[in-house]
């Protein structure tokens, strides 16, 4: 089993070595990403400098939603965010080089890079999470602890699937990078705030089409034992793994279709 992973260990290992080799620019990148995390949180902070509640949650609650959304997004970005370089790989013939190797193309693509500088945002999100959790005075049961872990894992999987689907689209729409940003970065933005602020159609979109609400808001409802808005009962907070699996099936199907299209086996 360990031997099966040998190629991937080697591939990722060399990327990590290559990135950390330039210490000063790596440090700059990480601090840049810390700044990004802080400025994004500033939006929450500014709102709550003026009001006491947003979408039915107080500052602690919204901070929790924000932290969970940003943590899962940044981890997914670390692992798979470089997939939006696909047009460059297509242009440079890197995908052909992948096809000539005895490994699955997607696995090679995922291990072709690691965005270590995302660690800055991850750190900021973890700190906010660490502060928000006790601030919310949660009634901790084993079930709720499990839910937190499940939600964090499923949330990461959801964003990873979004990145994959976004990459698959690039097989057809080569200049489509900004278009898919609406779903990946837009999804992150929508996930960072309570879905109850959205009007019903938008709420439905960001729950059942792009499962942003499943990442942070719905699990937070369970943790805080609050009722959800119209159309989103609290128990959905347990269903983020379902959303993750469904989205992954769709994303993988899209990826395979894209690869077939590239190899001329599709259209």
């Amino acid at each position: 089993m360990v031997d099966r992973l040998r190629p991937y260990r080697e591939l990722i290992g060399s990327r990590i070595r290559s990135q950390t080799a330039y210490r000063r620019s790596f440090a700059l990148d990480v601090s840049g990403s810390v700044m990004v995390g802080l400025v994004e949180f500033a939006e929450v902070y500014i709102i709550f400098a003026n009001v006491d509640a947003l979408g039915g949650l107080d500052f602690a609650g919204v901070a929790l939603v924000f932290a969970l959304a940003h943590l899962t997004f940044s981890v997914a970005d670390l692992i798979i965010g470089h997939l939006d370089n696909l047009p460059t790989y297509l242009r440079m013939g890197t995908l052909d080089a992948f096809l000539l190797r005895p490994l699955p193309v997607l696995a090679q693509l995922v291990t072709s890079d690691v965005s270590l500088r995302r660690f800055g945002r991850i750190a900021v999100a973890m700190i906010i999470l660490a502060i928000a959790l006790p601030m919310n005075d949660i009634d901790w049961t084993p079930a709720r602890v499990a839910l937190l872990i499940i939600a964090a894992t499923a949330g990461t999987a959801i964003f990873a699937a979004l990145f994959l689907a976004a990459a698959a689209v690039q097989f057809w729409l080569v200049e489509g990078r900004e278009f898919v940003n609406a779903f990946t970065y837009g999804g992150n933005y929508a996930a960072s705030f309570p879905a109850s602020v959205f009007a019903v159609p938008m709420r439905a979109f960001f729950t059942f089409v792009v499962p942003a609400a499943f990442v942070a808001y719905l699990p937070t409802l369970v943790l805080l034992d609050l009722p959800g808005p119209v159309g989103l009962p609290q128990w959905l907070g347990w269903c983020s793994p379902v959303a993750a699996v469904a989205l992954w099936c769709a994303a993988l199907a899209g990826w395979r279709a894209g690869l077939r299209h590239y190899s001329g086996a599709g259209s």
Binding site: L28, G32, V39, E43, L54, E175, F198, A199, M202
Partner: protein, 258 residues
């Protein structure tokens, strides 16, 4: 140079459409968050009711393209590769040449990337826009000044390329700072005291907050003219400093034999 800037951006049609789509989605999300906040505040927040808040969100999104909030490093690249020598050899003043090109780009991208979010915002929420002509006339002036102030700031940031090897850190900081303090994320009028003071000490609110305030009629008459005056002031200062720093930078380049 104006027409050239215009034409270069004319080739990115698909990218413009994609950009308009993304702007619209972000506009929608931002509008709902804004309305949520205003609702929680009891219907008005710092003088914004729900309609005004929504209008603000969509106008801020529509302005992204023209004022080019998300960074521009063309000048820095040219300094790094040495192509800047070509610009220096031309008989046109480099700063003004780039300014003209930037204005061309802004005009060209404004409609394809700016109008769709406004249309969607109007359809979904209804925008609260003034019915008289004066705010729009003053608004155009403010917008043009905003584009130029934004350029002047980005020009200065790019000039650090004469001294720094890697511009990424400075550029990220600038984009973040200007994004927040300009009022792009949330109106500066909502900032807590200390942050509002900090923002007003920078040219950034002149780039987003001011044109929006004027075109929506929030700032009218004498107040609008005062804001335009502030824009002009920042423009002159930034351009002047930009010229000095540019001269210093090119001197350094020549001395180094670059």
């Amino acid at each position: 140079m104006f027409v050239n800037g215009f034409r270069r951006w004319a080739t990115y049609r698909l990218a413009l459409a994609a950009g308009a789509f993304t702007n619209t989605v972000f506009g929608l999300i931002r509008a709902f968050i804004t309305v949520g906040a205003i609702g929680a505040a009891g219907g008005t927040l710092a003088g914004y009711d729900a309609a005004a808040g929504v209008t603000y969100a969509f106008l801020a999104q529509a302005l992204i393209a023209p004022v080019n909030i998300f960074g521009w490093d063309e000048l820095a690249q040219r300094v790094r590769t040495g192509d800047i020598a070509v610009d220096l050899a031309r008989p046109i003043d480099p700063q003004l040449a780039y300014l003209a090109a930037d204005l061309g780009r802004a005009v060209y991208t404004f409609i394809p990337r700016g109008v769709p979010p406004l249309l969607v915002g109007a359809a979904v929420f209804g925008l609260a826009m003034p019915t008289t002509a004066l705010p729009y006339l003053l608004g155009v002036v403010a917008l043009v000044l905003a584009i130029m102030v934004s350029f002047a700031g980005r020009w200065l940031v790019n000039l650090t390329a004469f001294w720094l090897l890697d511009l990424r850190g400075v550029l990220t900081l600038y984009v973040l700072g200007s994004g927040l303090l300009s009022g792009h994320l949330l109106p500066v009028h909502w900032f807590p005291g200390w942050l509002a003071t900090a923002a007003n000490a920078t040219p950034f609110p002149s780039i987003v907050q001011t044109p929006i305030d004027i075109v929506t009629g929030r700032a009218a008459g004498a107040e609008a003219l005062a804001l335009i005056g502030v824009q002009l002031g920042w423009l002159i200062v930034l351009l002047a400093v930009g010229r000095l720093v540019f001269a210093a930078g090119t001197r350094r380049l020549v001395v180094q034999g670059g």
